[in-house]
């Protein structure tokens, strides 16, 4: 094509098609600016937190730290790790997820596919109420529940998992509900018209269509509870050695570990004792915090991969 200097064609029409109303252009630019500004403002704390945690935590963050517990570690010893806390966090979070996802997902299915009338309204109301429960109250509830069954002073992983479930269930219900409502009714009708019973329609069409969104919702719910501290402090307690058993004895968890190390503060070293590191507790707290952040990021990544794998593909 040859570049023409004169604008060709009907000039009247050209003017009409170019008439970008000035206001729209200006608004577009202003809004763009605002959005970028908001983005930067939102990123600042995130970057600042990540930076602080990385800078402070990277020093202690190594294979030794990840594979050793705190058993027999005292004072300013250059030793100790978070293996027991990682085990605890992973097990308790997994247990909480196993409790919450079936309950939450089934509740969401009930609300979207079957729920009519006052029962559905009541369920919705109580889910909303549950969303507002302070996490310490959830911890007390779980403790009280197990104290009734097993006597006072009970501390074990499963109690913490129940406490976390109380926090997680409403989040799962809410996000799954939203995702199920996004499935167009035409798809349900199309399947029903093929003579498929309702429950199979729900499982094979509705859930299958919305599985990617549900996966994202569950990942977010896990990220929401994995950093909970207060309820675990009450229900699971603290311990320095490794405990794999959810159903017996105390366990350590990462957030509680961070809290505990931090609250122990500076070590009063005897002057001249070179093996004693005064800031060891703080260092361990930062490194554990870094680990927790990495675990959450890893979970998000896995969630994303799952989502991508299940997302409806453009077949052919």
């Amino acid at each position: 094509m040859t570049a023409t200097t004169l604008p060709e064609g009907n000039p009247e029409l050209r003017a009409l098609l170019r008439q970008v109303d000035k206001g729209r252009h200006r608004k577009d630019r202003v809004m763009k600016g605002l959005i970028y500004a908001a983005f930067v403002v939102a990123m600042l704390p995130l970057i600042s937190v990540s930076w602080t945690v990385i800078v402070n935590g990277i020093e202690r963050f190594n294979a030794y730290f990840l594979t050793h517990s705190m058993r027999g570690v005292f004072g300013g010893m250059d030793a100790g790790g978070i293996y027991h806390a990682i085990i605890g966090t992973l097990e308790i979070t997994l247990a909480a997820t196993l409790i919450s996802v079936p309950i939450g997902l089934l509740t969401a299915i009930y609300l979207v596919e079957y729920g009519r009338g006052s029962l559905a309204r009541a369920v919705t109301f109580f889910v909303d109420v549950m969303t507002g429960i302070p996490s310490i109250v959830a911890g007390l509830f779980a403790y009280a529940l197990f104290a009734v069954l097993l006597g006072p002073g009970v501390r074990m992983g499963i109690v913490g998992a129940v406490a976390l479930s109380v926090l997680m269930i409403p989040v799962v219900v809410r996000s799954c509900e939203e995702m199920l409502r996004l499935v167009p009714n035409e798809l349900r009708e199309a399947a029903l018209a093929l003579g498929v019973p309702r429950w199979l329609v729900v499982i094979k069409v509705v859930l299958r269509t919305s599985i990617a969104g549900i996966g994202t919702g569950i990942t977010l719910a896990i990220a929401r509870i994995i950093g909970e501290t207060a309820p675990l402090l009450i229900t699971v307690g603290v311990i320095d050695s490794i405990n794999f058993n959810l159903f017996e004895g105390r366990m350590m968890t990462l957030p509680v570990y961070v809290y505990r190390q931090y609250s122990q503060g500076l070590v009063p070293c005897t002057p001249g004792d070179l093996a004693c590191i005064p800031t060891i507790n703080y260092d361990r707290a930062w490194a554990a915090a870094l680990t927790l952040i990495l675990i959450v990021m890893l979970l998000n990544l896995v969630g994303r991969l799952i989502t991508r794998f299940f997302a409806p593909k453009n077949l052919g």
Partner: protein, 259 residues
């Protein structure tokens, strides 16, 4: 005023996939041009490039030029929003806005743009557009009822009224009758015949009789094989296409002897 459209060397893509290749055609003003061809040959895709609706699909883009009265719609200084105000569109399935009444649906192009319009003017626009769409007599007593309460054919005419209420120069219709009964279809065909005195109309249809009845010129698109891009086989006066097409494939398709 109705405008002519000249398409040159147009290639249309979805991401890397070239859906339509090398289209070259002229759409005459104040006439009806029909697009026919087997499913998947790119009629809808091509139609949507005429009002820059193609590019709203992520990854979709075009190469080549579409000139309206000499102005390239894909020129760098052209505002796609302004293009869509001049080139209206009616979709395959009637899609009145469910939250709006019949009158509000007709005024949607004005109201959704936050434009102010006096009550009197609004009434005039509603009446003129609904009359233009041959719907006025059927709905004049229930203008404030929801548009979704109408029959399919009425809804489609409501969508046409909505499209012409913003006074476009060109009207694109993508199989506007495929979801309608024969009586509604006739009503819409009559409407197209009336509208062509004011508008340039392009209509996609799978119905040969409809193409023969309503259009002045007919374009036949075809697909060599799946995965290949669709191409314009020929465009000519409708009478010529249906009596003595130049290309054998056109004759095969029209007479139903198609693979």
């Amino acid at each position: 005023m109705a405008q002519r459209i000249d398409v040159k060397d147009l290639n249309i893509f979805y991401g890397d996939f070239r859906a339509v290749a090398d289209v070259e055609m002229a759409v005459e003003p104040r006439s009806v041009t029909a697009f026919i061809g087997p499913s998947g040959c790119g009629k809808s895709t091509f139609l949507r490039t005429l009002n820059r609706m193609h590019e709203v699909i992520p990854g979709a883009h075009v190469q080549g030029s579409v000139a309206m009265d000499g102005v390239d719609l894909y020129g760098s200084d052209i505002d796609p929003v302004a293009v869509r105000r001049q080139v209206g569109m009616v979709f395959q399935r009637p899609n009145p806005f469910p939250t709006m009444s019949i009158a509000e649906n007709v005024l949607a192009g004005i109201k959704l743009n936050n434009k102010r319009i006096s009550k009197g003017d609004a009434q005039d626009v509603v009446e003129a557009s609904l009359r233009g769409a041959n719907l006025w007599n059927e709905v004049k007593d229930r203008l404030n009822r929801p548009g979704s309460g109408l029959s399919g054919g009425q809804q489609q005419r409501l969508c046409i009224a909505r499209a012409i209420a913003v006074k476009p120069q060109v009207l694109l219709m993508d199989e506007p009758c495929s979801a309608l009964d024969p009586i509604s279809t006739l009503a819409i065909e009559d409407l197209i015949a009336e509208l062509k005195s004011d508008y340039t109309i392009v209509i996609v249809t799978h119905n040969m009789q409809q193409a023969a009845r309503v259009s002045d010129r007919t374009a036949f698109f075809n697909l060599a094989a799946t995965g290949e891009p669709g191409r314009l086989v020929e465009i000519d006066d409708t009478a010529t296409i249906f009596s003595s097409p130049r290309v054998q494939a056109t004759e095969d398709y029209i007479s139903g002897r198609f693979g």
